[in-house]
């Protein structure tokens, strides 16, 4: 089975969307450190994306330290970096930006949006 889920939507670059999904899966504990990461070919086929894009995804995640190449094993998921509260917050950055832009467009104030957030928070938790 493919170890992480991503629904690719038009608009944002495909590699950003997939990298975001991988980071999320690692931080949520769905992709465990030490487990094998799919190959470029598997990523390309499974997600139906350009092989060059799949290659770029693996290269960027490797540069970031989230993946490492282990001889004989292939690409392996690494322990996520320590400052994880910050990393977790970074995952919401795009959604937050979107929310702020929409709110400003509709002339909703910061306190109104904070209140709305709190209400939703209560509803769900």
């Amino acid at each position: 089975m493919f170890p992480f889920r991503v629904e690719i939507k038009p608009g944002a670059p495909v590699y950003e969307q997939v990298i975001h999904a991988v980071r999320k899966a690692v931080l949520k504990g769905q992709l465990l450190p030490g487990s094998r990461f799919p190959s470029v070919r598997q990523i390309s086929q499974e997600l139906r994306i350009n092989p060059n894009t799949a290659h770029k995804i693996v290269a960027l995640l490797t540069a970031e330290g989230l993946l490492a190449v282990q001889p004989g094993l292939g690409t392996v998921v690494q322990k996520p970096p320590r400052a994880s509260a910050e990393n977790r917050a970074a995952l919401l950055k795009v959604d937050l930006e979107h929310l702020v832009v929409e709110a400003k467009g509709l002339s909703i104030t910061l306190s109104e949006i904070t209140r709305a957030l709190e209400q939703h928070w209560e509803k769900i938790s």
């Binding site: 070919r41 086929q45 139906r48």
Partner: protein, 303 residues
């Protein structure tokens, strides 16, 4: 620089008085998946037929795998896989018979890959071609043009009329073979979402002309929609400059399509043209938005 797999210089084609293609120049680098988008009648198939030496250009020239397209012959087609929408197939042959028949024509035919693709594309070896559905037929012709590991695969409207499941099978079949070697794929399509996923280079055609040809990432980066809200309806109309492809005004809001967006510098440039109390909201565009902006712009300027 590595020699491109395809390069076209000023290609033109006239059918009698009708100019189907004018001044079309582009290159397709090795190892990329190039998607050619355009409305019906834009000249996509004409371009592909010239590249495949099925049509002679009336002007300009094209090189394919280092050869003038006008001189492409059977030896070259041992290195090129070509699938077109309405390909003629030997109807009475079974799928397996067709593959056995084709094999000796290609020195590089890979029987193992052929079997792998048969399974992956779920094609029945013993079914006659005439009894295959449209989707199955397309998959069979894809298989026939991939099994000899061509350097270049040319697909004319491969997704049109395929149901979503077959379309996925088709894309996966294509990707399973390209991702292990440096193959180049050149395809034309109406399916913008599929092109946005699969392709790393795109070209956009509007009747007879190629309007853009560049890496998809560059295109998505430089295009931006900017919604401007003005204090009052703009009279006279504002001159936004040549970098704005389209400007649609409705009351006090103007929706701009900017084609050379560079963040704050662009916004500052635009701000200088409008009253200080206006607001500007930039938002990224999808390939579909960009495509439609080009086509609509062309339609409104050439009635």
């Amino acid at each position: 620089m590595i020699e491109p797999v395809i390069s076209a210089e000023n290609l033109g084609k006239a059918f009698g008085p009708v100019e189907a293609l004018r001044g079309t120049s582009f290159t397709v680098p090795r190892g990329c998946i190039y998607g050619l988008l355009g409305p019906n009648g834009a000249g996509k198939t004409t371009t592909i037929k010239i590249l495949m030496n099925l049509l002679r250009p009336s002007a300009g020239r094209a090189e394919v795998l280092g050869r003038d397209s006008k001189n492409l012959g059977w030896r070259d087609f041992q290195r090129i896989g070509y699938v077109s929408e309405n390909q003629l197939m030997p109807d009475d042959m079974r799928v397996g018979e067709l593959l056995d028949y084709l094999e000796p024509y290609y020195p590089t035919w890979d029987a193992a890959l052929c079997n792998e693709l048969l399974q992956q594309l779920e094609l029945p070896r013993d079914r006659r071609m005439k009894n295959l559905s449209r989707g199955m037929k397309m998959k069979a012709s894809l298989l026939a043009s991939l099994a000899f590991r061509p350097e270049l695969v040319v697909l004319d409207e491969p997704f049109s009329g395929l149901d979503p499941v077959i379309r996925e099978d088709f894309s996966r079949g294509l990707l399973s073979t390209v991702s292990e070697s440096e193959w180049t794929i050149f395809l034309s399509s109406h399916d913008i979402e599929e092109v946005e996923r699969l392709c790393d280079w795109v070209g956009i055609m509007s009747p007879g002309r190629l309007l853009v040809s560049e890496p998809l990432e560059d295109l998505l980066r430089r295009f931006q929609r900017i919604d401007v809200t003005l204090p009052a309806p703009p009279t006279p109309a504002i001159d936004w400059g040549a970098d704005v492809l389209r400007a649609e005004t409705s009351g006090v809001t103007v929706s701009l399509v900017h084609q050379r967006y560079s963040g704050d510098a662009t916004l500052a440039e635009l701000r200088a043209k409008i009253p200080p109390s206006s607001t500007l909201y930039p938002a990224p565009m999808t390939l579909r938005d960009i495509y439609l902006s080009f086509v609509r712009k062309h339609q409104s300027s050439n009635p």
